[in-house]
Structures are given as C-alpha cells and as structure tokens.
C-alpha cells in the first residue's frame, strides 16, 4: 500500500503531458484527483496510526548491503504525507489556471508529479538509504521546477544555485547517514532510533551528526545557506507554493524531527540547532521586512519560520515537540494559501512589487479577504491557527531545556521574531490591498478565476476553522506526530483561550502590541541598512565560489587536456604507474617465480620476439602508413599468441579489433601528410620513452606477480565446471559473457553506445565555426535531400550555396 502510494505519483507523472491540449484548465480537474486519491488513501490508514500503531511495508532490494525499499507510516510521516498530497492536489488544480497560457505546462506537471512522488517517498521511507534516494530526487525535480522558465538567466541561476547547494548538502548527508548506519548496525530508521543510546556513546556520533546537520541546513535553507531560497523564487508560483508550504524545504526539518527522539539532548545537538535555528529565524524575519517583492517577502518569512522549526527541534523541553508539530501545520496552511494568492495578484495585476501595488481590495475582494485571513494567521493574531502555533512556541521557549543564559536569549529571539512577523504580515496586506491604487499595475484589474481561489480558500478555511471548535480533534490528530518526535511521553494541548494569565500569553500580546506600533515606522524600517556586513552576502559568496570552481576547472583542463594525444597518453600512463607501483614494490616480489620456459617451442619463442620488433618498427617508421602497419603487426602477433595458447575467442576478437583499428587509423590518417614531422625535442622524447619503459616494466611485473600467485585458486576451473551444467554452453568464454557475467556485458554495451553518442556529438553537433573554416578551402554545402546523389567518388553535393541549408548544427545553445 505505501509503496503504491509513493509510486503512483511517479508513474502518473507522464499524464501531465496531456496539458498540451486545450482547454487547459480541464487537465487540472483531471490530474488533481490523483493526489486527492493519495490523500484519501493515506487518510484511510489514519485510524491505525491514531491507535498508536505503524504501517510498514518492505521490499528487499540489495539485502546484503542493507538496502531495501522500506516504508513506514507513523504520526510524523502521516502529517507530512497528508500535507504533501493534500496541498499537492490544490496546487495541481491551481497550476491549470495559473499556467493556462503557457505552452510548457505539460513539462511543469511532469516535474511537479515527480517531485510529489519523491517527497512522499522521502517522508514515508524507513530506511536511510531509501530516504536519501528520494531526498536527492526532490533536489533534482525542484531544479526542474525552479528552472522552468529556462529562457531567463535568473531562473537558470536560481535553479542551479538550489541544486548545487541542496545536492552538495545531500552528499554530506549521505556520508552522515552511512556513518549513522554503521554506528547503529542497521540502515533501518526505526532500528537506528532504537539504538539511540549506543550511537550517542559511539565516536561516530559527532561526525555523523555534523554531516547530517549540513544536509538538513542546506535543504531547509538555514543560515548561512538560506540565500538559495529567495533565488528559487524564480520558479512559477505554483511550484513556490508547493515547495514552501508543504514540501521540500521542510525535508530538513522532517529529518531532524525524525531523529529527535533518541539522538537529541546532547550538547552538540542542543547548541548547534539552537544557534543556527535562532540566527536563521532572526535573519529571515529582518530580511522579510526589507523586501519589495511580495514573493521575496514570503520567501524570507519562510526562512524565518524554518529557523523557528529548527530551533524547536534543537532546544529541548517538554513543550517543544508539540510546538514543532503545530508550527509545521500552521505554516503549511497559511504559507500555501499566501503563495497562491500572491500568484493570483501577480497574474491579474502584472506585478509583484509592493511599491507598485495597492488598493486591490476593491478589484479583487475574494483574494483580499483570503489573503487578509491568512496573513492574520501568519502574524499570530488570536483565533487563527497561526496564533495557536505561536502560543505553543512561546510555551516551549519559556519551558525549554537549555542552560541558563541561553534560554533567555532564545525567549527574546522568539518574541522578536513574533514582532517582526506582525510587521511583515501587515506590510503584505496594506501594501497590496489597501491604500491608493498602485501605479505600476495593469489597468482594469479583475478578480482571479475561481479555479485559482479554490486552493487558497480551502487552506484559509482550515486556518480559521481548526481553532474554532476543532482544536480537540486537531490535538488528537497531531498527537501521534508529537509521540513520534518527543523522547518522552508528551501530550499536545492546543488551546485558544488560556485559562489563566500566563507569561507566554503576556509575551504574545506584547509582541502583537509592539508589532502594531512598529507598523507606524514602516518606511524607516524598510530603508534601514542591512544589519549584516556586506561580505556576508550569501549570493556573493556563492558566485565567488562558483567562479572559483570554474576557473580551477579551466586551469585543470588546460593542463590535462591540451589537445595533444601525446600528453593524454603521458598522464594516463603516469597515473597507472602511480597507482600500480607501490603495491607491486611492497608485495609483488614475495615468492615471485619466473615462468617455466620448458614447454616453449622455438617457433613460439620467435613469434613472441616479433612483437618487440614490431614495436621498434612502429617507433622508427618514417611514414604514417608504415607506422600503422607496424602497429597492426604488433596486434596481429598478439592475436597469434592467443591462437598458440588455444584461446580462439580472444584471438578472433583481437584480430577483428585490430583490423578495425587499422581501418579507423587509415581513415583518420589518410588526409594527413604522408610523413611525420618532428615536433618534439630529444629531451622530451627521452622523457616519454622513459615513462613508456617504466610503464611496460610495471605491467610485466604485474603479469609475473599474478601468475606466481598461489594464494587464490584460479576462477577458471569453477567456470569451466559450471558452464555446461548451469549455462548450457560449451564455449566457456561466451557463457561467461552472456550468462555468468551478463550484467557486466550489459554495462559494456551501454558504455559502447555512450561512446558512440559522444563521438557522434563531438563530430556532428559542433558549432559551425570549424565547418566554415574548411569551407573556405572547399566551398561545399550539404546536399539537399531532393538532389540527385551519385554514389562513388563524391562528385556530388556541389550545389550553389543555399540559405535554407545554413547551419545544420550549432544553432542550439
């Protein structure tokens, strides 16, 4: 069942391509039921989870490596899976209207469904390696989503930045997960959690955790990696809504929450997460108030909230798990709605700039109403779900598990971020919907189509209705998630009206009050200089790093790939010598026996001697053809040796390969001058000769050492014994190739195919520059299909230059 849920979204992804056909919105109504069905399927499993159980499904994959496709549904993964599929359904529907005029909508749906499947796999996985696979798949599919408008350099840059940072963090995560699995002795998440105490005592705990933190921080846009998220705003709004509300950026928070029960409350965990989360929370909240783009404002507010979540995962204390779960739900509800509404405003008014928008409440009353309600929830104003979550945060901050000193700092930080939250919520609402009508908008702005409002309406309704009467139900529903996160029995108790005046309530009201007062000073706050030093600008550091890598790669490439075959050979042989020599010198000469020459017939000896003679002839050749023939002679003699030692298969292959190599060499050399020119100095020649001789000696040494080895029995006997009985063939070589080691052969033919693709691309799909250069000498244009073509000596294709035939290749970038 769980595997089916994960695979459905992935398998259904190509259906999105039907979005090519008109009328576009219909495809939304056809596709949205798919995630809705997933939502219902997961809901159907809810009773079992609410009863305290888990749903597990495992398919072995590579059992000896501890790799299996193992999925588990518990409270935490259920919360995430429901958000992913539920908000996914709304986003799919919204996309149909938002991108109705866009020709690439099918491609967008394809990536969106792959992303959905990857995200479901990530949260449901119960094996860290399975989880990692889906983790990286979310990075790749979000790259496709963010870079959707690939004609724009900013979109490409944003997509590439997100990919490089999250995948780079993902690599750290992989190492961390493997270390964690090694410390636990299992890659299954539930078994890792069960071994929590042992892992904490292990020396691998610190490196494993630091690497995992790196993965989570990059994915969840924590300071100092937060800058990719605003750049990812280049994505079409439906993708932003999805990425921010329910899914990708919360993956890091999800993993931290998943590991929380048994791996937390160490100093490392407490301090790292608290400091990083708190910094992110404040940086995001401050930056959100300085943004003019409404999507940028929302992006930084997401960063702030992600920081809050990491802080809650880090700081410990009895209330933190409940606060984390409530924050995840509240944030998904209001942020999903707000992004979709921001898209609606952008779609109708033609701009996202706060300075150019204004007074839209009359033209877009429904959008305004929904946005105001969701913004109130974001600000944490009472009776909305955002308020409930904020109260939980404050309770957790008051009663945290941090040492004295730091706990006060955390409390102040949480209140400060609440104050800024009020401020940016107010900026959003007042800037877009109130005041004088903006100057930079389209004329005659209309209300967004109903299809674009359904999603935000449903999410906003939840933000309003959940606190109004459904709180006990919500608490029951969230309780399994809290159980999955907390390390001791913790009860979630959501409330709307506190029974008594408590410190959190006073702080909450104070924050609202200060926020309301600060709205008076909005222009000054927006204009205030950045509190961070300019060199700490993530964008700049990223650009410098990417430039540095590119420059380094250029230098490296110029050194290694200078276009001379001679230097390629030198590097290849040198690296082989470097790898092979040390073990050969250390171990190779133990018990080395020279081969037994007793049974060697004189003619065999002579044929072997002919090989070095051929090599010397190649070196001494004055003409290209002579060199080719001498080199082929060497190959043929090797084939002959195979014949002598009764290896007809090898001999045949060697013979054919030798013939074809000669043909290819002749093809290449035929147009070059007939004789060689000396382009190297004697010093270079002797250097290359020395390298060649050493390389040859090393390989001879390896051959001797291998044939002298008696420790391992030769594998050939086993193959010979089993080829007839198991592989039903007398030709052992062939049975090995197609049966015993068929998988290798499969890989080899794939390599062959890739090689020919590469050669084809290099020779055929290159920029026309090289063609033009040749055409100066021989003004030949490719023949047109309708031209009479003579086979034979190529007396064809000489036609007048034809504009239509102009560059065949090189048009694409």
């Amino acid at each position: 069942m769980l595997v089916l849920i994960v695979l459905t979204a992935l398998i259904m992804a190509p259906l999105g391509l039907f979005a090519r056909y008109e009328p576009r919105p219909v495809i939304g109504w056809i596709l949205a039921p798919i995630p809705l069905a997933l939502f219902l399927a997961i809901s159907a499993l809810t009773p079992e989870v609410l009863a305290g159980g888990q749903v597990v499904q495992a398919i072995p994959w590579a059992p000896r490596m501890g790799l299996e496709l193992r999925f588990m549904l518990d409270g935490l993964s259920m919360l995430f899976a429901l958000l992913v599929s539920g908000i996914g359904a709304l986003v799919v529907l919204y996309t149909a209207y938002y991108l109705a005029g866009d020709p690439g909508m099918g491609r967008f749906y394809l990536a969106l469904f792959i992303f959905m499947g990857a995200m479901l796999g990530l949260v449901l996985a119960d094996n860290v390696l399975t989880m990692f696979m889906f983790w990286e798949l979310t990075s790749v599919s979000s790259y496709l989503l963010v870079g959707y408008k690939h004609d724009y350099p900013e979109a490409r840059r944003g997509a590439q930045m997100g990919l490089l940072i999250t995948v780079g963090g993902g690599l750290a995560l992989l190492v961390g997960l493997v270390l964690l699995g090694t410390a636990a002795g299992s890659y299954t998440i539930s078994e890792i959690l069960a071994a929590g105490e042992r892992i904490k005592a292990s020396p691998l705990y610190t490196p494993a955790m630091l690497l995992i933190f790196l993965g989570c921080f990059t994915k969840s846009a924590q300071f100092p990696f937060h800058f990719w998220l605003p750049n990812a705003m280049q994505a079409p709004t439906p993708a932003s809504a999805y990425l921010h509300s329910a899914t990708m950026v919360k993956a890091g928070v999800y993993l931290l929450a998943r590991l929380h029960p048994t791996l937390s409350d160490t100093t490392l965990w407490l301090y790292t997460l608290t400091v990083v989360g708190m910094t992110t929370m404040l940086v995001g909240a401050v930056a959100a108030n300085r943004r003019d783009d409404i999507k940028g404002l929302l992006a930084y507010s997401t960063i702030s909230k992600l920081g809050t979540m990491v802080l809650l995962a880090g700081m410990g204390g009895p209330e933190a798990p409940a606060a984390l779960v409530a924050t995840i739900l509240a944030h998904a509800l209001y942020k999903g709605a707000l992004f979709m509404l921001a898209g609606a405003v952008d779609h109708e008014a033609g701009t996202r700039s706060l300075a150019r928008l204004g007074g839209l409440r009359r033209a877009m009353p429904w959008t305004a109403a929904l946005a105001i309600l969701s913004s109130l929830s974001m600000a944490g104003v009472p009776i909305l779900f955002g308020f409930v979550a904020k109260e939980e945060q404050l309770y957790a901050a008051v009663d945290n598990g941090l040492p004295p000193g730091l706990d006060v700092v955390v409390l102040i930080a949480v209140v400060t971020s609440a104050v800024f939250g009020v401020l940016y919520s107010w900026r959003l609402v007042s800037g877009v919907f109130f005041g004088a009508p903006g100057s930079g908008m389209k004329e005659h702005v209309h209300e967004a189509p109903a299809g674009m409002l359904i999603g935000p309406a449903i999410l906003t309704t939840f933000s309003v209705v959940l606190p109004l009467g459904l709180l006990p139900t919500t608490g029951t529903f969230l309780q399994p998630a809290v159980d999955a996160i907390s390390n001791e029995a913790a009860k979630i108790s959501l409330y709307l009206f506190p029974s008594e005046i408590s410190l959190p309530l006073i702080l909450s009201m104070t924050a609202l009050l200060i926020g309301a007062v600060l709205t008076r000073f909005e222009p000054q706050i927006v204009a205030a200089p950045s509190p961070l030093p300019p060199w700490l600008n993530g964008d700049r550091i990223y650009d410098a790093a990417v430039d540095g890598v590119l420059q380094g790669a250029t230098v490296f490439t110029r050194t290694l790939q200078n276009g001379k075959l001679r230097s390629y050979m030198t590097w290849a042989v040198l690296s082989l010598i470097a790898v092979v020599t040390p073990p050969l010198l250390l171990f190779g000469f133990n018990g080395l026996t020279l081969p037994n020459l007793d049974g060697v017939e004189p003619f065999e000896f002579v044929s072997m001697l002919l090989i070095p003679i051929g090599v010397i002839a190649t070196l001494q050749a004055r003409s290209r053809l002579g060199a080719i023939i001498a080199a082929s002679f060497v190959g043929l003699m090797v084939a002959y040796i195979f014949v002598i030692y009764s290896a007809p298969d090898l001999a045949l292959t060697q013979l054919l390969v030798e013939i074809l190599t000669t043909v290819f060499l002749v093809l290449l050399f035929a147009v070059l001058p007939a004789s060689f020119e000396r382009l190297t100095s004697p010093a270079e020649q002797s250097r290359d000769g020395l390298i060649a001789v050493i390389g040859g000696l090393m390989f001879a040494g390896i051959a001797f050492a291998a044939s002298s080895s008696t420790e391992l029995s030769p594998i050939s006997q086993a193959f010979r014994a089993e080829s007839q009985t198991q592989g039903f063939g007398d030709n052992v070589v062939n049975v090995i190739l197609v049966d015993f080691r068929g998988f290798d052969t499969m890989g080899e033919i794939v390599v062959l195919f890739i090689a020919v693709l590469g050669i084809y691309a290099m020779l055929r799909l290159r920029p026309d520059a090289s063609l033009a250069r040749d055409d100066e000498e021989a003004p030949v244009r490719p023949a047109r299909p309708d031209e009479a073509v003579l086979h034979g000596n190529g007396q064809d294709g000489r036609s007048a230059p034809d504009a239509r035939e102009a560059p065949v290749a090189g048009k694409g970038r």
């Binding site: 054919l656 052969t745 040749d774 030949v780 299909p785 086979h791």
Partner: protein, 156 residues
C-alpha cells in the same frame, strides 16, 4: 573512396559472405568460438568494406539503416531479456531456456537473445563510428551524406 575496380568487385562479393559468416559466428557462439561481439565486429567489417570501396554515401543510400538507432535498439533488446527473470519474481538476468531445441536454430534461451542484442549494438556502434569518420568534412571535404536527417540541430 578508393577508386579501385578490384576492391569494388571483391567487396561486393565479400559482403554477403561476411554477413553470413557473422551470423554463423553469432549463432554458434554459445558452444564454439564466436558470439555476439565477434559476430558484430564481422558484420561491421562487411559494412565498413563497402564504405572503403564505394564511400559512405553508398552505404547510406543503399541500406538506409540508421546505425545509431540500431545500436540503441541492441542495448534495449539485450536489457529486455534480463527482465524475464524480474517478471517471474527472480533476479534480473536470470537465464531461461527452452526445453526442446528448435530445428535448424538450436536450443534457444534468454542468454542467446541477449547475445543478439550485443551483436546489434556492436554492429551499430562500429559502423556508425566508421560512417561518422568517413563523412567527416574536415577529413574528407568532398564526401557528404545525401541528407543529414539525423543531425538536426536542437530546437532553439
């Protein structure tokens, strides 16, 4: 390419013989020296001989085979026969054999069919390589394919 009457006549005669030999090598490969790789190289030699004797255009127009597609088909064809094991719930590439030999062909099993995939891939790769080189404008400015249908630039 090489304007030689002897080469042209010999290559015309050799072509069917080499192809038959390559098929023979392919089929007998499971019990005697031969197999998909050797057979494929032999068949490619047959095609390349035509290129040398008549030029690449002759091969393009006379046979009308897209060797790149042939190679791709070979890879997929070979991979396909590994799936039989997967479908029956066993390991990928597990061998399956017919109980009774088919008259004239011999005993058939998935490894033999896998070898056919190797055969096609090797023919496609090697011949395409020779074609690309022989049609290379910097090397042979005169020789051009009749229509470069397979070298369409990506849509801008």
């Amino acid at each position: 390419m090489y304007d030689s009457i002897i080469l042209r006549n010999v290559s015309r005669l050799m072509f069917p013989i080499l192809l038959l030999l390559s098929l023979f090598m392919l089929v007998r490969g499971h019990n005697l020296p031969g197999g998909g790789f050797i057979g494929g190289l032999l068949a490619a030699s047959a095609f390349i001989l035509q290129i040398i004797a008549y030029g690449p255009m002759y091969l393009r127009t006379t046979f009308q085979i897209n060797f790149l597609n042939l190679a791709a088909f070979g890879v997929i064809f070979a991979a396909l026969w590994g799936l039989v094991g997967l479908v029956t719930g066993q390991a990928y590439m597990l061998a399956f054999w017919l109980k009774e030999p088919i008259p004239g062909i011999g005993k058939l099993g998935t490894p033999v069919l896998f070898d056919v995939g190797v055969y096609l891939t090797v023919i496609g790769v090697t011949t395409q390589l020779a074609l690309v080189l022989a049609e290379e404008p910097t090397l042979y400015p005169i020789q051009r394919p009749p229509a470069r249908r397979d070298a369409v630039a990506p849509e801008a």
